[in-house]
Symmetry: C2
Subunit: 332 residues, 2 copies
């Protein structure tokens, strides 16, 4: 047994910081959440499915949690990837102003991201061609890294990396401490999110599912290079989310979190709830104009689905003590 | 510190069987491999990249290992999924003989799997329509489970689940004990492999990359159901393997293993070798007519690439003490 103990300790030395965070999270879980029905519902669910004596017990290998990103894990006013794409387009337009002739690019330039839903396939291909032509995966990652180092939010005047929701980062940690594997499943670009997912959320690249462009492994200067193309691979929104969860994970999520804006997470939460056995779904409601932004869905579909299906609604205003970490420091 | 120790032990109780296997693997790694250049090369590489004092040290989060399945982790004479598809087609042909009119299905019925490469898009769609029409993911999984419970290899007379290569299963364990995350990246169908990947290889469904059909999340009898369609999603072979590794993992593999047959793994191994920093590539050569099967590639491309690029060639005849576990029991 002493060999086993020694070996177990060796294995865990590498994860010591995570373990330390984990213990404080066990003693006082979700510290940035107000006491109330949302916090209680989460903790009760996790207690129940991790209790081996319970008929609702879920083995560790099935504890899959999926999170939307924009508006669920970080703020989406403006869409952060939209700001990145705009910075790329501005750089490219300085060299070649004709790229701005596309109606989609003109709409994006005016902040009308919703135009993506109205765009034709030709518009999308044109945008991807402008963004990706001749760009290798390595170069793309460098562009994303440069953006996050310098760009700041237009109203809040902080780097975009400060716009993660502290209570949600705590929730990710809390679930991991309780044996969950945490995943992102977002409409955002998979390669864009992967650059910061480990740093911001403790989620490694292989647990990020997102929208993607098709790529090719093609000869270039005597070697083969993985290269982005102008063809859309997958637009990971609405009913495509369950399809991609199945492709990447192959298991029903036990825990699924989305937010109010466009109904983009309803299918993912519906899919999670269809697993046989217990599951938990939550919808973040953006109702705090003072600390973040207040907005609703035109058709109220996400909140209606939450009410109809018994999903937990999380109110930023009422359920979160802190929204962004940087706001706490401002109070100090 | 005592809290940390107790917590570390708690975390590892769930993985105790794996730890026990791991320790025996540490004391006597790769027991079914003969001493020789292949076994030494693998152990030397792993020792080197796990040594924190070495300039070749690779942190745990980057230790990604990818394995082809057919011919690399289990035998591919015949292709096991081919046998499954044939069993499905025979069941369906009993009800509707007209399905056999497709030239692709006739070729498959005669064991000519290579015809898939000559098949037209219409042939493939027709095959997928025959196999998938009206089949939900849950029903498909049940069909695969039923196949593995009853079907046996035509010459070897053992269940197909007995046809994993014992030295390769040991290699997977050895890499995991050394901090690697092990993945399958195979031309086989992702949903087919996932049914048995945990049981046979200790690889969970979310670490299996394979060929796929497109699916839809569609309304059916008052709920939404994830359903297979007749459209090919991805044929995960040759240059598509690096593309799908990037899509699913987002990191260069440190360790990549394939086999001689059709050159299907050359691109994946090339991609792995392009990572900056150390990496290891190996090709299994099927040269043991007595214990498995002996076959070569028409153009010898895989072995030529191995020689040109310094990939380790693994000879089943010379490097493996045991091929299949069941053969060991026969000797007892």
């Amino acid at each position: 047994m002493s060999v086993l103990v020694a070996f177990a300790l060796t294995l865990n030395l590498a994860t010591l910081p995570t373990v330390a965070v984990g213990i404080s999270n066990l003693l006082n879980p979700l510290p940035s959440w107000h006491s109330g029905s949302a916090k209680s519902a989460i903790i009760d669910f996790v207690d129940q499915i991790t209790d081996e004596a319970s008929s609702d017990y879920i083995p560790v290998e099935d504890r899959i949690a999926v999170f939307d990103n924009d508006g669920t894990l970080w703020s989406e006013r403006p869409l952060i990837q939209g700001a990145f794409i705009m910075s790329q387009l501005q750089q490219k337009a300085a060299k070649d102003p004709t790229i701005m002739q596309s109606s989609l690019i003109q709409a994006l330039a005016q902040g009308d991201v919703a135009y993506l839903y109205k765009a034709t396939a030709a518009d999308i291909t044109n945008l991807l061609a402008v963004l990706n032509t001749g760009v290798s995966e390595v170069e793309f990652n460098q562009e994303v890294e440069a953006f996050f180092k310098t760009a700041t939010h237009p109203q809040l005047n902080v780097p975009y990396t400060e716009l993660t929701f502290k209570p949600m980062v705590e929730l990710l940690e809390y679930l991991r401490v309780n044996g969950f594997q945490t995943w992102i499943c977002s409409g955002g670009g998979v390669n864009f999110m992967r650059v910061v997912s480990e740093q911001l959320y403790g989620i490694p690249p292989q647990q990020v599912i997102g929208s993607s462009v098709q790529k090719e492994f093609v000869p270039e200067e005597g070697k083969f290079v993985l290269t982005r193309t102008d063809k859309l691979g997958s637009f990971n929104d609405k009913s495509v989310k369950p399809v991609n969860i199945d492709l990447h994970i192959g298991k029903y999520p036990v825990f699924a979190a989305g937010n109010v804006k466009s109904g983009g997470d309803i299918a993912m939460l519906t899919y999670s709830q269809e697993r046989s056995g217990p599951s938990f779904q939550m919808i973040v409601n953006h109702d705090d104009a003072e600390r973040e932004f207040a907005y609703t869905e035109p058709d109220n579909a996400s909140l209606n689905a939450a009410t109809a299906n018994g999903w937990q609604i999380v109110s930023i205003k009422q359920d979160w003590k802190t929204v962004f970490s940087y706001q706490e420091h401002e109070k100090d």
